[in-house]
């Protein structure tokens, strides 16, 4: 069975998590039960644990079975993702800057610089494997995912809702990306095929980069934690955050599986 099919089945079996989150988002009484914003954040992370497990496997199972051709296809989409992330973030900190607190504006700018570095390294890895971005067309689900944060956040174009909703949609994806890259780092050594010459250096760079990106994505997730810690103090705000976060979690997990499906189609 293909890895994409295994992951898709696991995803279907974990759909109850999204149902629970949607139920929570629609109940202000439930959301009023949290003592403070920190308790809400902890509950959110505990609840999405099964989804993080799938995301870990999108790195772990994929790299264990990947071919060089598959890595090239996967990396092309990855490089496009870095570009798309920066397009959304650049828009955020320019067109929407009036809806963001000063203290968060600079942290978002830091993320822009990280995404630019990721794009630079991904295209370098791509070249080392003999690939390029020529004629690349993104997978539809990824295009949808990067449109989602501004689409969802602009439903409440006012302070402090906008920034909380945006981070719900965007930085939650960074949380899933952290564990995906952790899966790659932990498992790449189990696939002898990708360590053969002439690709050994490219694979070493892919793994080192995944380790580097793991820390960056983790930092990007903390932007959401900072915003939520400050503002997720009311049931209404918690509902607005979940409104964007649930959609992002669902979309990003599906998109990762699609990316593997596309890479596997090269076999």
């Amino acid at each position: 069975m293909s890895i994409a099919k295994i992951l898709r089945e696991e995803f279907e079996s974990k759909r109850y998590v999204f149902d629970e989150l949607k139920r929570a988002a629609s109940s202000l009484d439930f959301l009023a039960q949290f003592r403070d914003s920190y308790q809400f954040i902890d509950w959110f992370k505990a609840t999405i644990d099964p989804i993080l497990e799938i995301n870990y496997k999108t790195g772990a199972l994929w790299i264990r079975n990947a071919t060089v051709k598959g890595i090239i296809l996967w990396t092309r989409q990855g490089a496009w993702n870095e570009w798309a992330a920066n397009s959304a973030l650049a828009k955020l900190i320019t067109e929407y800057r009036d809806y963001i607190d000063d203290e968060f504006l600079n942290v978002f700018a830091h993320q822009v610089s990280d995404e630019a570095r990721h794009f630079y390294i991904r295209t370098k890895v791509l070249k080392m494997y003999g690939g390029s971005m020529e004629d690349f067309q993104p997978i539809k689900e990824w295009a949808d995912l990067f449109e989602w944060p501004l689409r969802c956040a602009t439903k409440r174009l006012e302070k402090p809702y906008f920034q909380a909703k945006f981070t719900g949609a965007f930085q939650t994806v960074e949380l899933t990306a952290t564990v995906q890259h952790k899966g790659i780092v932990d498992n790449a050594h189990l696939n002898p095929e990708i360590w053969k010459e002439p690709y050994r250096d490219a694979t070493r760079m892919l793994v080192e980069f995944s380790r580097e990106i793991e820390d960056d994505e983790s930092f990007h997730w903390t932007i959401a934690e900072r915003v939520w810690a400050k503002y997720a103090t009311t049931p209404e705000m918690r509902a607005e955050i979940l409104d964007c976060a649930v959609g992002a979690l669902e979309l990003s997990t599906i998109a990762k599986i699609k990316r593997i499906e596309a890479a596997e189609s090269s076999r």
Binding site: Q33, F34, W43, K45, T47, D49, P50, E53, Y56, D186
Partner: protein, 104 residues
């Protein structure tokens, strides 16, 4: 809170959520352990990345593979990269007719 049936648990912790309360539950042989859902070091959920095992002295330990933190599930003490980490909160567990109950 009722966490589930005994056979649902293994050395890989399972995060159990009931309303706004949650904990992680794991089992080694006939012994069941309940502890906080998130790693005390960097707050990663312990279900997808945690494991419990017996150390050389036979003490139950929790490993969080995210950063290599290890906690003693009896004393609650832990270390990350050899340095002391915040202790892990543990909860009393009772197994009644194969049902695992955790007192949070």
């Amino acid at each position: 809170m009722r966490a589930g049936r005994l056979e649902e648990f293994s050395e890989k912790p399972k995060v159990v959520v009931a309303g706004n309360r949650h904990c992680a539950v794991a089992r080694l042989g006939g012994s069941v352990y309940a502890f906080e859902s998130l790693c005390p070091h960097a707050k990663w959920p312990l279900g997808f990345i945690g494991r419990i095992f017996l150390n050389r002295e036979g003490r139950p330990m929790l490993l969080c593979a995210m950063h290599g933190g290890v906690w003693d599930l009896v004393s609650g003490e832990g270390t990350v990269e050899g340095k002391p980490a915040p202790p892990i909160r543990r909860y009393p567990v009772e197994v009644v007719d194969g049902d695992v109950h955790v007192r949070l």
